[in-house]
């Protein structure tokens, strides 16, 4: 075998295996297995994560200056995106794909519970009919149970909105396995779908929704690039 026909010894430990998963939340410090409700959707064809810089060459229009002079190169910014094809059509997934959209249609009723049931979501009601607003109660207390509502049927209507809302932006994680049992993770901050909603159906097949999500810089943290990367072995993150 030729002496240059080799691969690094650590190739195998850091190999990323399988497609990984898109999550609403993830803690890279613990790298705990995700709960079912944190998984955004099932995907097909894998997930593409991209963080591409854009540069300007300030020497481009300078006479006698060679192209790509190191000292005159300027980093303009980063384009941070995640894209995949989803197999889900839940209201939350459709809203994610649309970006600026609202979910509605759920119906609520005053709860008949006489004690707080663990794991159940209760709501308080505000506003006036027919535009009541139901807000989840973070920490329900028994003393207020008479004012709590519960969802009797879930949201089913997703309406694109003319204006963008700050609440349309969210944090999305991609997390995948490494061959050594560790993990690779990418955090996309202030993520918003910029590709819109495209559903492709087929005879005898599963409907697929293409999703492209872009990270955004915040006015409150203008030097923070909206993507972070994590790669850890199982010793660092058991």
């Amino acid at each position: 075998m030729g002496k240059f026909t080799v691969i690094p010894q650590d190739t195998f430990t850091a190999l990323q295996l399988d497609a990984g998963v898109l999550l609403k939340t993830f803690n890279p410090a613990t790298a705990a297995a995700p709960s079912d409700e944190d998984i955004i959707c099932a995907t097909t064809g894998g997930i593409e994560v991209s963080c591409v810089p854009t540069y300007s060459d300030f020497g481009e229009d300078v006479d006698n200056c060679p192209n790509n002079m190191m000292e005159l190169k300027h980093l303009d910014g980063w384009d941070c995106t995640m894209s995949t094809t989803s197999l889900g059509t839940s209201p939350e997934l459709i809203k994610l794909a649309l970006g600026a959209a609202d979910i509605s249609g759920a119906t609520y009723a005053l709860t008949s519970d006489v004690s707080i049931k663990a794991g159940k979501t209760y709501y308080t009601r505000s506003g006036t009919s027919p535009n009541y607003v139901y807000t989840p109660v973070a920490s329900p207390v028994l003393a207020d149970i008479a004012t709590y509502y519960e969802e009797t049927s879930p949201d089913y209507k997703i309406t694109p909105r003319r204006d963008l809302s700050q609440s349309d932006f969210s944090t999305i994680w991609w997390v995948g396995d490494r061959a050594d049992g560790g993990m690779v993770a990418v955090k996309l901050m202030n993520a918003l779908s910029t590709g819109g909603f495209t559903l492709q159906t087929s005879k005898n097949g599963k409907g697929q929704i293409s999703i492209e999500i872009m990270g955004h810089v915040s006015l409150n943290a203008q030097s923070v690039v909206p993507m972070e990367f994590y790669s850890a072995d199982p010793v660092t993150n058991p």
Binding site: V6, F12, L17, D18, A179, D180
Partner: protein, 126 residues
């Protein structure tokens, strides 16, 4: 442990005696309480997945329940993402094949056999 030993170690981890299919003794069924496993041993280069197989052999009178339960145990152990089995200088990445398992007829009607397909990728520099 080399790659073939790692493959043997993997198949030996299901509570059955595992034989390379080319080294099965004539008394395998009687010597192992009426059940054992055979597997094919093959080698390939890095980045060249290879399809290998195994068979579950159970002595059972018209009853598939026990051998089917063992098949599901192996299926669930490999899981959706496969299993990485380390050895000296590398690792095996064992994934479910397609189809993963199928029942097979045997000349002896008291023998139940399930044929299992796996895909193995060898992470090794040699």
């Amino acid at each position: 442990m080399d790659s073939l030993q790692a493959l043997h170690s993997f198949w030996s981890g299901f509570g059955l005696k595992a034989y390379d299919e080319n080294t099965v003794p004539d008394n395998a069924m009687s010597a192992n309480n009426g059940k054992y496993l055979t597997y094919t041993a093959g080698l390939a280069n890095f980045d060249e997945p290879v399809v290998l197989s195994a068979s579950l052999w159970y002595k059972a009178e018209k009853d598939w329940s026990a051998i089917t339960a063992k098949m599901y145990e192996i299926n669930n152990y490999i899981g959706l993402g496969g299993k990485v089995v380390p050895f000296d200088g590398g690792a095996l990445w064992i994934k479910r094949g397609v189809p993963f398992a199928q029942r097979m007829a045997d000349e002896d009607d008291t023998i139940r056999r399930i044929y299992i397909n796996i895909e193995v990728e060898y992470f090794t520099n040699t």
